[in-house]
Symmetry: C2
Subunit: 372 residues, 2 copies
DNA sequence: ACACTTTTCCAAAGCGCTTTGGATTTCTAG
DNA sequence: CTAGAAATCCAAAGCGCTTTGGAAAAGTGT
């Protein structure tokens, strides 16, 4: 390897060992001290060269970087963290709902976020939290100085975590939002109210007057907003809201199935149903089939769609989507939230960022094409 | 708070501030030095008291612990890590397949693992890796000494990661297994071959002779074993294996749908189908419905089931399962793998642990009850 | 040649913990 | 009462990095 030639004298042997991929077994891991000794420079200079400080000439910087690469030197994160007070890692606390259910959309969100962290040299710390544990975990993160910031997932309608994080001064970004003073912190949310208003409006335009809403858990802020949008559309069209046609629970496939059956057994069954997620919507389809009803013909279906990766068509396939959906990419949301958080960590004095994304309607086979 | 009374003299004020939950805003975070000064003990003694060393009397240990609690003292992980060389964190590298798809079963696996780590005082580090990136990430973890061990997810039929981890001496446990010398490292796997043999056998007993297998990606070790079990059952019953009835891809809902349609359009359509995961199975059901076929009557369906939380019935609900499935809890697997890894980290000289779990057949509505 | 600025580099202090190698005190037995 | 053992505690070194406050070397204009 050409790099070896640039190294200081007398260390070619170690370098050669490194070339055989054997050096980990032979030598202790290389550290700043050794590296600087080999280069005949001080630790200060090597550290500065590697961290891009201006006080070191380009010539030496290059020499240092090549040596560091050749020897596979990586600064110890614990040591760096101890010295700087920064951990270069971000905490994600994923809520596990009462029935030990983990919403699968988190994995896609995390995939998006992870990409940003990796590019910025940050690590991602994950904790699953049972109901009520979240606050303790944030407190733990803070008092151990374990992370530089956290992402708040699944804000409830009343969300003590936000106040807690403000008070312990730990940078955070909320995926979703909660509370009246939502401009006092950074968040990224989908315009759930408008999304469900639009979707309901579409169904009404197609002639439906008896529409059910199979919603998520209404202790969650997003679910409450979705119901509000749903009801607003009905009211705007002078359709009375019938609470028997609204239900709310963890968004599982089974829930969608059972709730759909229940709806269709009512004395005045709905002619259209809105689902809060594609999973209950799939359960709904299963229920329809059991009853011999055909979605898009006998009954209209619209679902909110997070564009979960395991429910997508493979690339290149151009088959039209099955569900008519109100859609927004959760992976993209993960990316953006991560960016916002890193930005806020770099510049703590900046004003909070609020982003409200509009979901898009995608026409599929589960609604008639009228009014499209 | 009574604890305050046990503290050394002159610090009651700080203690009272702590009681108001205000101390974070007033004082710098407490560290060993301050804590030991307050107690009138050396740092050594306080550290030992907190870490359960025998050289300190129970009386002082108690005094120290109470003070630490009252002041919400947590040792800095970076400092501890620097001093001990241990990070008390575990890395998980989740593969993202070519089409940017993340298998949703990972979130349940991680939920299981996270519980174990939390109980043991470990943190979980997560990275999503595009195809081919995994090895670099492990190398990065190792050279930065970022984690004490890693879990290997989704081993391929040929798995360079295992050799890599052995050579860089980073403790690991594989979820699944790969390679000929599988007893040279720790793994936990489901007996996929036997599971699919059993499932296929059941279908054959029910009179099916033309069975399709809608498998996962066969570059993955588990998928290859499943096919082997499937073929073994056919051969044992003198049924020729027809490659046209076997297909393989990322386990998405859409894949299940499309592959099922394709199977049923063949000149000799199968009378039973085995699915590698509940997601493609759901897609399959959707396809059957489009064709007006009823699962369990017109065609038999068996699927492998990871018991994903978002596809489970809510607690207490006693509705019989929809799918006839070969089932094993992935959340339980996550727990056990985490336990095995921590055990191995604590005791590096112990022999590798290998656990092969048998999946259970659960009878649902998608097969006839004959042969049950 | 000089005095000045700019560039390039360094010694040493510290981040907060663990751990080694005693020192001191208390307990036990003769 | 005293020597030895046991229990209890401590000072200081060190983990690997960043960063402060210069010092030395190189460049610049007169």
């Amino acid at each position: 390897m050409a790099n070896c030639l640039h190294l200081a004298f007398g260390y070619v042997d170690i370098c050669q060992i490194a070339l055989n991929n054997m050096f980990v077994m032979v030598t202790a891991p290389i550290n700043l001290k050794k590296l600087s000794e080999m280069l005949g420079l001080s630790q200060t200079t090597v550290s500065r060269a590697l961290n891009g400080f201006p006080e070191v000439s380009e010539k030496t910087r290059k020499r240092v970087q090549e040596a560091a690469n050749a020897l596979n030197y990586r600064p110890s994160p614990s040591a760096a963290s101890l010295a700087t007070g920064k951990t270069r890692s971000i905490g994600h606390v994923i809520p596990v709902s009462e029935h030990r259910m983990i919403n699968p959309h988190f994995s896609d969100f995390l995939a998006g976020a992870s990409e940003i962290y990796a590019a910025a040299g940050y690590d991602m710390l994950l904790r699953m939290a049972n109901a009520g544990e979240e606050e303790d975990i944030y407190r733990d993160f803070a008092s151990r100085r374990r992370v530089d910031g956290v992402v708040v997932h699944g804000p409830k309608t009343i969300e003590p975590r936000i106040d807690l994080l403000k008070s312990i001064d730990l940078p955070f970004v909320v995926h979703g939002r909660s509370g009246a003073d939502a401009n006092s912190y950074s968040w990224l949310d989908v315009n759930n109210r408008e999304a469900f208003r639009k979707g309901t409006e579409l169904l009404i335009k197609q002639g439906h007057a008896n529409i059910a809403l199979i919603n998520g858990l209404e202790s969650m802020n997003f679910a409450k907003r979705r119901r509000a949008g749903f009801e607003a559309a009905l009211e705007a069209n002078k359709i009375a809201v019938d609470q028997r046609h609204i239900c709310s629970a963890d968004m599982t496939e089974t829930y969608g199935h059972d709730a759909t059956l229940a709806q269709l057994k009512l004395s005045s069954p709905p002619t259209a149903i809105m689902y809060a997620s594609i999973l209950p919507a799939m359960g709904g389809i299963r229920a329809l089939n059991e009853l011999g009803l055909q979605p898009g013909k006998d009954i209209a279906i619209i679902t909110y769609d997070d564009e979960l990766s395991f429910l997508q068509s493979p690339d290149g396939t151009d088959t039209p989507p099955f569900f008519t959906a109100i859609s927004s990419s959760i992976q993209a949301a993960g990316k953006r939230v991560a960016e916002m958080l890193l930005q806020q960590i770099d510049n703590p004095m900046q004003n909070p960022i609020n982003e409200l994304w509009e979901a898009e309607i995608v026409h599929g086979k589960t609604t008639s094409s009228a009014g499209k």
